[in-house]
Structures are given as structure tokens and as C-alpha cells.
Amino acid sequence: MPGPDLLSSQGLRLDGRRPNELRRIRCKLGVFTQPDGSAYLEQGNTKVLAAVYGPHQASKSKSSAEAVVVNCQYSMATFSTGERKNRPRGDRKSQEMSLHLRQALTAAIKTELYPRSQIDVYVEVLQADGGAYCASVNAACLALIDAGVPLKAYVCACTASVAWRDSTTPLVDVGHVEEAAGGVCLTVACLPSSGNIALLEMSHRLHVDYFDVVLSRAMQGCRDIEVVLDRAVREHLAEGWMEEDITAV
């Protein structure tokens, strides 16, 4: 079978994980005081910071009469990749990532509540070890919740790939080594509670017969990530809220 060897004979991936194992996710909300909302998220070795400035008046050129304009900026620190990056932002890849980020977040935000306003989302990738876009979407979702921006539901993103050993085994949460090895990588950004897909992107080629398997694996990965994000949000609410704040109303 053509394709890289993403699964060893023992059934372990290149970084030692099982095929259906997500990388460890650690996240924290409210890491900065200046922006309205902020979050820090680690997915394995990928580290991402997100900052959100809540709805404020939009500049004339950007404002839309029906809905809020979500302004995203995706930026990679110069020290984030193996080779030092020359342009942290403004290059073609960052612009494309910013547009994808905007697409995913606009699907989750209740945009009709703030006409003629804009929401700014700034994402900084501190360390990129594969799945930087997914980590950005997850971090931006937490930052939006921290900022108090109304969301329809959580928005999560996850990648999936496929390995050809014995049988077609889908792999969830693709790391940098697996991406570099040349395996196909399907990125899904969705609202896991409703199952609506906000963004779907794939690199390389995949036969249509295996597409469903890989897609459902990625969707399951999104649902698992939602559980982790949900726990972090509830912990943040619990520690930030005293009983007297509730009874004082």
C-alpha cells in the first residue's frame, strides 16, 4: 500500500500514541487582564495564546449592518517552528489561517446580536508541533467564552489521518512528524453538540471510500476536545465566582 508508515507493528504511532488517542490538552482561561477575554491552550507540544476584544464599534469600512464582523489575526512567533520564521504575520499562510479562523468562529458566534460592531480575535502560536490551526480554534473558543461573547455552542477543531497497516486505521490529532511524513491530514472545525461542520479542509489525497471513516474519527475527536474545554470553562467559573456574588443580585 502506498503511503508513509504511520503505525508500527505494535500499533503505536510515530510519537508513541495509540491511533484513537488525543494529545494531552492543558488550557487556562483569563490569562491576561487587558483584553476582554483570553486563553492559553496546549495540545501536546503545540502552544497557543488567544486574546479577544469584545464587540465594539466597527470602523466604517468594515462594518456590516446585519451582523458583527469577526476580525481574526493569526500570528506565528518567530521561534515557533524548527526553522526561525521571518514574518510572524501578514504572509500568505497566516492570512489564509486568519480567514479559516474567522470562518470557524463566525459559525459559532451569535453574530446577529451586534450589528455595526466588530469583535477582534488575536491568536499567537508560540510553538507549532502540528495542529496549530486546531489549537487556535480551541483557544479562541475559550477566549470568546471568557470575554462573554454569546456563542451558539462550543466550537472545536481536530485533525485526522489514516494509516495503512493490516486494515485502514484512522488516526486522530495529527502531529508534526506525521504531517511531515506525508500522510493525508483532514482538518474539521465543528460545533460538536449539534454536529454542524464549520470548516473542512484536507491536504494530499484520500480515496472517497475512506473519507467517511476519517471524517467520523475527526468529529469524534472534536467531541472529546469539547469535553476537555467544558471542564476548563466550569473550573474557571467555579474559581472566579463567589457565592455572595450570586445572592447579592
Binding site: 451586534y114 450589528p115 462573554g148 454569546p150 449539534s194 470553562v233 467559573l237 472566579g240
Partner: protein, 217 residues
């Protein structure tokens, strides 16, 4: 007094109840017959005075204590005057003093009623703390410099002025309370200047809040 119940902690996307059970309040939205949460916070159910149904809403750490609604009488301080717009900062909503908010919400305000308009104003170039006296519905005069300036004066019913408020104790807070308690505009003289307010034209307007708009017209 509306009865309020506090419920469970909710996150965005939590299904709260059927749409026909309760009405959607702030922080919730309706989709396909169910009410879902939009914010992360605590669910709150309170009685609606007008209709019989209860309103379900989400109280998040980010929601301001009081938010002006359409039709509210607010007390605002004018900050910018242009030929097209006059920008103000809302200080009180009805009888309650608003806490300073980090987020900015934009509202259209109107002074198109007799009871609404300028309450306290100082003449240009006059020393701080000397408030002008209204001489007609559209003019005010400074007692020190005798300069007349055009203002849309708010109509204050004398019995509404709370005499207990006309003391020199904590002048800035008292002035706000008196204005708000009336619901109408009230004229007060303050003994000292408040360090909180910038030394601009200290004009207080009572006006009615309009519909929420994303920008200033």
C-alpha cells in the same frame, strides 16, 4: 419584587428548557423549540410582571448589574458635542446608579419630552461648581458671570425635588441620587467639585434610552 431563582451552571450550548415553558431572556436563544444558553454562567429564572410566563436568563461574570432597556429614563453626562451627534456617558438608569462598566454599549437617547433635557450645566469659562439657572425652556444663565447660554431645559416638578438630598455631604453622589430618584431632572448646586468628573462642560441630561444600536448615529 420579582421572584428570582438561581439554577445550575451553564455553558454555551446547554439546553435549558422548552421554548413554550419559559421566555428567552438575556444570555439565551431559541432554536427549534428549545431554549439554549449563549453565555457561560448561572441560569436565572424570574417572574415577568407584564406577561404571566417566567423569563429564563444567564447571569455571567461579565454581565453588567443594570443594563438600560428601551424606554428607560437615564441620567447621562455629556462628553463630546458635534454638529451631528452629542456623545454622553450613562451614569444612572432610573433610580439606580450604574457601576462603571468596562464594555461599552451604545444607545440612542432622546430628549424629546418636556421632562427630559439638561439638568445641570456650567457656563463656558465659568468656575467649576457654579451651576447655571434656567430662565426659560431654552436658556440658562450663570449666576456669577450673568452669561446666557442656550440649553434644552428639563422640566422639573418642584414637589419631586427631594430636599433631604440638598446637602453638601458627598456632593457628587447626592446629586446623582436626587436626579435619579425623581425620574425627572432636578437642579442642584454642588458645594465642591467632584474629582471623578473631568473638567469639561459638566452637563447632565436626563433622556430616554432608545433601541440598542451598534454604533452612534
Amino acid at each position: 419584587m420579582a421572584k428570582t431563582e438561581f439554577g445550575t451552571v451553564c455553558v454555551p450550548g446547554t439546553r435549558l428548557c422548552l421554548a413554550k415553558e419559559h421566555k428567552c431572556g438575556p444570555g439565551t436563544y431559541e432554536y427549534r423549540g428549545y431554549v439554549y444558553a449563549m453565555l457561560a454562567g448561572v441560569m436565572k429564572i424570574e417572574d415577568d410582571e407584564i406577561q404571566e410566563r417566567k423569563i429564563i436568563s444567564i447571569d455571567s461574570p461579565r454581565t453588567p448589574g443594570i443594563l438600560p432597556k428601551t424606554g428607560d429614563i437615564v441620567t447621562a453626562k455629556v462628553t463630546v458635542v458635534n454638529s451631528r451627534v452629542v456623545q454622553c456617558v450613562i451614569l444612572c438608569v432610573g433610580p439606580s446608579v450604574l457601576l462603571p462598566m468596562m464594555e461599552v454599549h451604545w444607545y440612542h437617547l432622546s430628549t424629546a419630552e418636556n421632562e427630559l433635557g439638561v439638568v445641570i450645566a456650567t457656563a463656558e469659562g465659568a468656575p467649576q461648581g457654579v451651576n447655571m439657572v434656567p430662565i426659560s425652556w431654552s436658556e440658562m444663565q450663570c449666576p456669577k458671570s450673568l452669561v446666557k447660554e442656550p440649553r434644552k431645559v428639563a422640566r422639573v416638578l418642584p414637589e419631586n425635588i427631594n430636599d433631604a438630598m440638598l446637602t453638601d455631604e458627598k456632593p457628587e453622589l447626592k446629586e446623582e441620587n436626587a436626579v435619579c430618584n425623581n425620574g425627572d431632572a432636578a437642579r442642584l448646586s454642588t458645594g465642591a467639585t467632584s474629582p471623578l468628573f473631568p473638567p469639561q462642560r459638566r452637563e447632565f441630561l436626563t433622556s430616554r434610552a432608545g433601541a440598542f444600536a451598534g454604533g452612534v448615529a
